[in-house]
Symmetry: C2
Subunit: 219 residues, 2 copies
């Protein structure tokens, strides 16, 4: 397996990467090809597709020998078969994500909706073919039950000493935080969580279904 | 990369495998796990999903060094970038197919819609998540133009000496032949083509948009 590209984005930390990739995300990822694939020929015609597939490496997961995993979506206590989940802990650590192709810049693909950490190696890019790949009536198994769960993000408790952020950063953080980046089995209103995104370190607490951003520092 | 399973079906020949996989196909494929993945734990919960992804090996393709390919869909003469196609000739020979999960039998997954040859090695199986994977409004680029093209299959010229086939075999052959298995750049009404499927050797000719089945023999 050859690495054909790397993903670059503001997800410098694994904590906070959306578990449910959203192709209408405001967060952009750049796909930077490695030589010899860094050539206009390799992507000729790709601009006609609105969506593309990324096949990528779960870089920080060891190949798993376990046949079952405990999905965060099920609270972290229920075991299901590895082939019934999209968990990174699987025999061959290859991830699959559909992203929206926003534009091409200097031979790089700019996409939205990638649930990849900055620097992730990419093994393949394929066009999304709606008549083969789109099955809106497919039933989603156990994973369906938590899909609409969202936290409300509250900024009123943000300390004054925090750094100023741009409107775009705020939108991106709303998107990330509303998906509840906490481990699913944790529910401690006193606990302060921190995540890194876009060179910012963001502290927050969660009380019931409201997430309070408390501090933001530059990393 | 470990092989986790093999596909088994009636596509003993590469010629005739649908270029456009159809999840409402009448042709079934069995996914037979290899040890240690041949265990009920590995697929626990998968029965809740109507569709699954197969990641598999383009077994008879050499890893390609070319950055462009000539898709049959474009007549075989136009070059497009390898990452703008689903061609088997790509840097990492991994195929991606969404199939319908029909049932589980003796620990094997029975699926419909696989565009895989009999014996194909499988590297991963993932559940299809409609809210992440289904994008019915995605635009299909150059590949969209030929999607509705179909031949009419005519059985009136089938020689009497041909073997009798079951209704199910006939349905399967209709499905395969109507998709026009000829190389796209060929259009010779005199030429007789042959393909193997389900231990049958099937001869046919194509005149304009009608495909005439002329002979069927047991292999």
């Amino acid at each position: 397996m050859q690495i054909i590209a790397h993903a670059h984005n503001a997800f410098t930390d694994k904590f906070g990467i959306p578990r449910q990739p959203l192709t209408d995300s405001v967060i952009e990822t750049r796909i930077v090809f490695t030589p010899p694939f860094r050539h206009p020929d390799a992507i000729r015609g790709i601009e006609g597709f609105s969506h593309i597939w990324l096949l990528w490496e779960f870089e920080h997961s060891q190949p798993s020998k376990s046949l079952t995993v405990r999905p965060p979506r099920l609270g972290g206590n229920t075991r299901v078969g590895v082939f019934a989940t999209r968990s990174p802990f699987r025999p061959n650590p290859i991830g699959l994500t559909c992203v929206r192709l926003l534009r091409i810049e200097n031979g790089e693909l700019i996409v939205a909706g990638a649930d990849l950490r900055d620097g992730t190696p990419i093994y393949d890019i394929k066009p999304y073919l709606p008549w083969a790949d789109s099955h809106p009536d497919a039933s989603g198994g156990f994973a369906a039950q938590a899909r609409d769960y969202r936290l409300r993000v509250d900024w009123s408790q943000l300390k004054e000493a925090s750094v100023a952020i741009t409107e775009r950063q705020k939108q991106a953080l709303e998107e990330i935080l509303s998906q509840d980046p906490r481990p699913s089995y944790q529910n401690d209103p006193e606990r302060v969580y921190k995540l890194d995104f876009d060179k910012l370190n963001v502290a927050f607490r969660v009380i019931e279904d409201i997430l309070y951003v408390t501090e933001i520092h530059l990393i």
